[in-house]
Symmetry: C2
DNA sequence: GTCTATAAGGTGATAGAC
DNA sequence: GTCTATCACCTTATAGAC
């Protein structure tokens, strides 16, 4: 029935446990339980909690942070279409994995480890994005704007409502989870409109 | 020299420790050390780690979440000035306390406790904000927009770059902390412009 | 590779003297 | 109120049998 190798089972169990509880909150026993094995085997495969965490974090990070910029390389779309597609796809990705951004942010803030490497490994082509934006400004299709500020805005508008879900639900929707979900459903269109309205020349 | 009462010293030490390490990562011993007392005294004043945390979280939460809407009550400002002031003051507040938003978000996501009360205690007047926005839409000063979406946008644009500092610095500024700080310095003006450009009719 | 048993050290919490 | 000493439990990690 279960053809997954032990290592795969461990990795999947660890990912769930770490994302749910963070590094400090995660328990090796809980990971073993989720994987249907015992603690000793965990250490046989990954020696320490730290090492296991590093593998998981790397995977999650590489899955989430990059490839955000892929859309912007396509030459068949204008800048506004690119933004629409990016926002839509990214929000969709986050809604399906709502705890991952918070996990990454929290662990990056509380770890002093050599995460510097992780960014280097991603080779995200920010320069491509910079050139694109600057060229659009020169062409006169969008207003003058710092490319870094713009990309932060796009990510912020997409990610924040999901990681701040409890606050948003509590403050804005009186604890009504359904109203929050309704807002989120319209979010991709709203965000794209909001951005485009702002930058369109 | 130190006129602070023991209770005050504990509270301040606990706030630092909890914000820095989260509930699960915080250590009662570390709090005692920071306060210059011993563990036993900690329990004498606050019985359990859980109870001490609740006091801290309440304080931080009440300090941070509300009073955001105060600006919008002033009648001597137009909607755009209100937004400028709010963004400027809120970003300023966050930059001075950069770890607090992440702390609140993380603890709210990982606690199932009866936080519902906290929101009720704040009696934030979201309706005031709703009425203000809707009235401006009717007057024709701003475009049609859902007040909830707008307030989320304003908070997201203000808060996100600070809580995602390691990622922003790593991905956008090649690890150069100074470039990140420079971006942040212009952030309040940029955000206000970005929002106003978007919603101005 | 996988298990049971256990070591070694930490952590929240309390007892009891002052 | 404040301290020292200590308990009871939990957590990571390893030893050693199979």
């Amino acid at each position: 029935m279960n053809k997954k190798s032990t290592e795969e089972k461990i990795l999947q169990a660890a990912e769930t446990e770490f994302i749910e509880n963070g590094f400090k909150g995660a328990r090796m026993q809980a990971i073993a339980d989720r994987a249907g094995i015992n603690k000793a085997l965990l250490h046989y495969y990954f020696r320490t909690k730290e090492k296991l965490f590093e593998v998981i974090f790397r995977t999650v990070f590489k899955f989430f942070v990059p490839k955000m910029f892929n859309v912007f390389e396509r030459e068949d779309l204008d800048i506004f279409e690119k933004i629409r597609i990016f926002v839509s796809e990214y929000i969709n990705l986050i809604v399906k994995n709502p705890h991952i951004p918070g996990f990454i942010i929290h662990e990056l803030s509380s770890k002093k480890s050599n995460i510097g490497k992780l960014f280097a490994e991603q080779n995200i082509d920010v320069d491509l994005f910079r050139r694109l934006i600057n060229s659009e400004i020169e062409k006169g299709t969008i207003k003058d704007i710092m490319p870094e500020q713009l990309i932060i805005n796009i990510i912020a508008l997409s990610v924040f409502p999901v990681i701040a879900e409890p606050i948003a639900t509590g403050v804005l929707f009186d604890g009504d989870e359904k109203k929050y979900q309704a807002m989120l459903k319209e979010r991709d269109k709203h965000v794209a409109d909001f951005i485009i309205n702002s930058i369109k020349a």
